[in-house]
């Protein structure tokens, strides 16, 4: 059974078009991300590992080497077991540093353009045999179904179609930094198609050729040599070289690296891929012996490479044969498309751009895009040229693939050094790679054209070392990797890493990177744009700057040195995906220069440490404890009820806690790193002035959100005890505490007013009594006055009335004054010199008004002329409260004494009673609001709390000394008013 070539071409084109539509729909968001980002889609995409070599060649290889064909896939399974050790760290590195290819990765770790160029050339050399393999598989599979087909026509046609679809899939726009959702999904679909096709062919072979599983077993029982031919060679031959190179190829081949790391979804998919990818390989490979035995039973002529097509064709199953052919097209096209999409940017950044291509005038992105398309074409045509010049006698499909695998395995030593050996150097890596790759090229690559196989000296050595003759790749794997590793280790030990290498090594080994020193000379994003334009072109400069600003959440008005340094690093990272790490570093270094002498902001140092510790989550040992302590202390600081702001030596904000965020409305992220002077008003002026002022504490009034607020500021110098003696100035900073007193002041004022009203109530009865007496007298005199005719008597009685009226007036005035003072709040109270003696006398009188029945004398021993600084009404309130309490505590007939005297620059007033005293367990609580020892209705519990508050406001102190049964003494200390002479 045969097909027309045209039928095969139309079927292939239709299939590829369907693939493109899937990719297009995914990119346009027509396919939900839960499918495009699904871990199983990622695992299926990794199935690009199984190319036409696996699809067609495995049957042929199994016919010669039995189950040994499995080693290629068991090696990939071993690789998946190393996901936590190798794959995940690599994925983190490539994401963090935007390293889109293996050449980028090595060029970052072993810095220098030579590294990128060498890796790219080596990968290119290893890729070409593999591309040739795909062309050959497509040509020969087409000729199995359509024998008259021209090899040249089919080969060139396949290359042309691959070129078109490679550009459509991955080179319609320029940036390789973003995941091509469509490409990944299309490759996953291709894997599904080839997997299903192969499994169907195998299952169909069992049913159609053997009559079912029972028939297969019967056939195997009847032909034990068939199973023996699978088992015996696999027992006798070594598997180790094949396991090693396939383990490396599973993630180091350009297409594998591209799918595994560059195209990986954001979510964690590696855990699923670790089992799903090997499972896919297992299912595909289970069909191989079934197809082989079916071909044997059908008596198909060898080689068995294309039995997958020949078995259904021989049994007259055209639909299955076409599906099997499309499965092969799927395997080949996926490999070619992904490989060229991986290799083209690599060649661009490490072979073309270093020649100065990026600096040509015009739109950088457009030039890069066209360069990439041209490179895709060049790589595919190079693969075709390799195919044309192949020596057909010397190589089966698997041989070509193994040659590529050995070439890629040369990166194993360098990769292990990259991840686990910071001492490895660029010289060591390049030397090892050069030695291994040269030996590989001489012994494996060149013979693919010449057909001469190993040279005599190598053949002798192969025999001497006990390798199986006829398998040069096994011998070359051992020798090239040994030479490579020895050169790598030896020369790394013999040379010293440069500082740049050492820094890259720390990053790659996930050790602590050092903090980038210095600040960018450009002072604003606009300056960034102007300085980048000559290097990248105005359009690209603007686009890259806007992108970096967006990613970091910064604005065009950003001026903080630390943030501008981050902006520079982000631009370099982004450009690394576009130009490669080496050129990106060069371009950014040239455009955005760094002043290394500039001191790194303390805020940046702190953030650096925080990020390091945050990244260290999940670590063991003291780091975890250190992180726990840091987070604990940070929570304490953040949840302080007062605003806390730590400053660096340049008054740059290091810490800005949550309370201060709430108070100021400024977020910590936007404030940290700013100097105080650059903060928005009123905070900039307020804090900068206070931080550099002479006072360590101050109370001020500011307008925030249209409201007047009262803030108390405290300042202390922050000088850690670990300050190095030689650099004390570097660690000087300050801590500012900002306390919002607005609510508390208002509360104090309300309390004072309530207390005053309560006092008014208490004295009301006394007042009524006090006023009642003169009022009775006035009434009585006035009644008698009507009948009095003697003018002298009338004047005397009127004088008596006026005297009693003045008495009433004095009482009323005192009451009104007392009840209204302090209503407007605690701020803005006028402070004057207050004579103490009259104040105490008036307070005593007022107190007694409310305690007429108490029969307690109140005696003042205050010297005349003694003055304090304060507010008369509020101080009067203090003493009214204290004296009233003293009267209440005193027994009938008792006495309350007031003593006053100077004590240095202060005045001490003692209020002494002979009452029952205060029990020690209550002495600590009497200043608490609403705490009272009086009967319900007799006291509000606010008096002493208010007294304490007022005394503190006056800068004074209040102490109590009491013994149960021996009376109580309250001592008030107030600032003494200086004499007029002293003040002058």
């Amino acid at each position: 059974m045969t097909f027309e070539l045209g039928t095969l071409v139309i079927a292939s084109l239709t299939y590829l078009l369907v693939l493109f539509l899937i990719a297009y729909a995914a990119e346009r968001g027509r396919i939900p991300s839960r499918i495009t980002q699904h871990p199983l889609a990622y695992a299926l995409a990794l199935g690009v590992y199984a190319t036409s070599w696996s699809y067609f060649g495995s049957v042929g290889y199994a016919s010669q080497h039995g189950f040994r064909y499995l080693a290629i896939y068991l090696g990939a399974t071993l690789s998946c077991l190393l996901v936590p050790v190798l794959w995940r760290p690599l994925l983190e590195l490539t994401r963090q540093l935007r390293l889109t290819s293996l050449a980028d990765l090595f060029a970052f770790r072993y810095p220098g353009q030579a590294t990128g160029t060498a890796v790219t050339l080596a990968l290119l050399a290893g890729t070409l045999p593999y591309l040739a393999l795909q062309v050959r598989a497509v040509v020969e599979s087409a000729r199995v179904l359509s024998p008259p087909a021209s090899a040249t026509t089919v080969g060139l046609g396949f290359c042309a179609i691959s070129l078109v679809f490679s550009v459509l899939f991955g080179a319609r726009y320029v940036t390789p930094r973003e995941r091509h959702e469509g490409l990944a999904l299309a490759i996953a679909f291709e894997s599904l198609v080839k997997g299903v096709a192969l499994v169907l062919v195998g299952a169909w072979a069992v049913v159609s050729v053997f009559g079912g599983p029972g028939g297969l077993q019967a056939w195997l029982d009847a032909h034990p040599e068939a199973l023996r031919a699978m088992q015996q060679p696999a027992r006798e031959q070594s598997w180790a070289p094949m396991l090693v190179i396939s383990c490396a190829a599973a993630f180091l081949m350009p297409r594998q690296y591209h799918v595994a790391f560059t195209e990986s979804p954001e979510r964690d998919t590696l855990s699923t891929a670790a089992w799903a990818f090997p499972l896919l390989l297992l299912l595909m490979n289970m069909a191989v012996p079934l197809v082989l035995w079916a071909g044997r039973e059908l008596g198909l002529p060898g080689p068995a490479d294309f039995h997958v097509l020949a078995v259904p064709a021989a049994r007259g199953a055209p639909a299955l044969a076409m599906l099997a052919f499309l499965g092969g097209i799927s395997a080949s096209s996926a490999m070619v498309i992904v490989t060229t999409l991986a290799m083209a940017p690599m060649c661009l950044t490490h072979l073309v751009l270093p020649l100065g291509y990026a600096r040509s005038p015009g739109n950088l992105y457009r030039r890069l895009l066209w360069a990439r398309r041209v490179l895709i074409a060049a790589i595919i045509l190079a693969g075709y040229a390799f195919y044309v010049h192949l020596d057909r006698r010397a190589s089966g499909l698997v041989d070509l693939g193994l040659v590529a695998f050995v070439g890629v395995a040369q990166f194993i030593p360098g990769l292990l050094g990259l991840l686990f050996w910071p001492r490895a150097t660029r010289v060591g890596f390049l030397s090892g790679l050069a030695a291994g790759t040269t030996l590989w090229a001489l012994l494996l690559l060149v013979p693919l054209w010449s057909g001469f196989g190993l040279p005599p000296w190598a053949r002798e050595l192969e025999t001497l070392l006990g390798f199986t003759p006829g398998e040069p790749w096994s011998f070359v794997t051992f020798t090239s990797l040994t030479l490579n590793a020895l050169a790598f280790v030896g020369l790394s030990l013999a040379t010293r890493p440069s500082p740049e290498e050492a820094e890259a090594a720390r990053l790659c080994a996930r050790e602590a990177p050092s903090l980038a020193a210095g600040s960018v000379t450009a002072g604003s994003p606009d300056e960034f744009r102007r300085q980048l334009a000559p290097v990248l072109g105005p359009q690209a400069a603007t686009a890259e700057l806007d992108r970096a600003l967006r990613e970091l959440g910064l604005s065009e008005g950003e001026r903080r040195p630390a943030e501008l340094r981050r902006l520079r690093d982000q631009i370099e990272r982004n450009l690394s995906g576009l130009l490669g790490p080496v050129l990106a570093r060069l371009a950014v270094s040239e455009a955005l220069q760094v002043d290394p002498r500039a001191r790194t902001a303390l805020a940046e140092q702190l953030r650096f440490v925080e990020e390091r510790l945050r990244d260290a989550r999940g670590m063991t040992g003291p780091v975890r404890e250190l992180e726990a302590v840091r987070r604990y202390l940070q929570r304490i600081l953040e949840e302080l009820p007062v605003g806390a702001c730590a400053l660096g030596p340049d008054q740059d904000v290091v810490i800005w806690n949550e309370a201060l965020e709430r108070l100021s409305g400024l977020r910590s992220e936007e404030v940290r790193g700013q100097t105080l002077a650059h903060l928005p008003e009123p905070w900039g002026g307020l804090l900068a002035g206070f931080a550099s002022g002479p006072d360590a504490g101050a109370e001020t009034q500011v307008r925030l959100d249209g409201r007047e607020r009262i803030l108390r500021l405290h300042r202390s110098l922050a000088t850690p005890s670990e300050t190095p003696r030689e650099e004390p100035e570097q660690l000087k900073g300050a801590v500012l505490l900002v306390e919002d007193l607005t609510e508390r002041k208002a509360m104090d004022a309300r309390l004072a007013h309530q207390d005053r009203l309560a006092s008014v109530g208490r004295v009301a009865a006394g007042v009524a009594h006090e006023i009642g007496n003169p009022l009775t007298a006035i009434t009585s005199v006035a009644q008698n006055l009507r009948y009095e005719e003697d003018p002298a008597e009338i004047r005397e009685r009127v004088q008596l009335i006026l005297q009693q009226a003045r008495r009433i007036d004095a009482i009323v005035r005192a009451l009104v004054t007392f009840s209204h003072a302090g209503v407007t709040g605690g701020h803005g109270v006028p402070v004057t010199r207050v004579p103490l003696a009259p104040l105490l006398t008036e307070a005593a009188q007022l107190s007694r008004l409310g305690r007429k029945d108490a029969d307690v004398r109140c005696v003042s021993h205050c010297p005349e002329g003694l003055e304090v600084v304060g507010n008369t009404q509020r101080l009067e309130q203090v003493f009214v409260n204290l004296i009233t309490n003293a009267i209440d505590a005193s027994p009938r007939g008792g006495q309350v004494e007031l003593f006053a005297g100077e004590d240095g620059e202060r005045v001490r007033v003692r209020v002494v009673d002979q009452g029952h005293g205060i029990p020690p367990e209550l002495a600590q609580r009497i200043f608490e609001p609403f705490f009272t020892t009086k009967q319900p209705g007799e006291g509000t519990g606010l008096g002493l709390a208010l007294v304490s508050s007022i005394v503190r406001e006056h800068g004074g102190t209040l102490e109590v000394d009491s013994q149960p049964g021996a009376g109580t003494t309250f001592t008030v200390t107030l600032p003494k008013a200086m004499s007029q002479r002293a003040m002058a």
Binding site: F67, L70, A71, L74, T77, L78, C80, L81, L82, V83, P84, V85, R88, P89, L220, L227, R228, M230, Q231, Q232, A234, R235, W239, A240, L243, D268, L270, S271, A274, W275, P278, L279, L282, N285, M286, P289, F420, R510, E511, A512, A616, G618, M619, T620, V623
Partner: protein, 64 residues
């Protein structure tokens, strides 16, 4: 400073252990056990499937 999911961490050691077991099964003379004469044709695939199951378990333990 090494992450627990990096070399030296317990979950990673588990993966390395499974890797070592698999490498022994596939790369050492131990493979004669599942390639011996008379073994059923699907025995290599059964061993392979067992390694995949172990690997899935280890990968799940080491997931971040």
């Amino acid at each position: 400073m090494k992450p627990s999911s990096g070399p030296g961490g317990q979950p990673v050691m588990l993966s390395l252990f499974v890797f070592a077991v698999a490498a022994l099964l596939f790369g050492s003379p131990l493979r004669h056990l599942w390639l011996r004469e008379g073994a059923s044709w699907y025995q290599p695939f059964a061993v392979w499937l067992g390694v995949i199951v172990l690997g899935a378990w280890a990968a799940r333990r080491s997931a971040p």
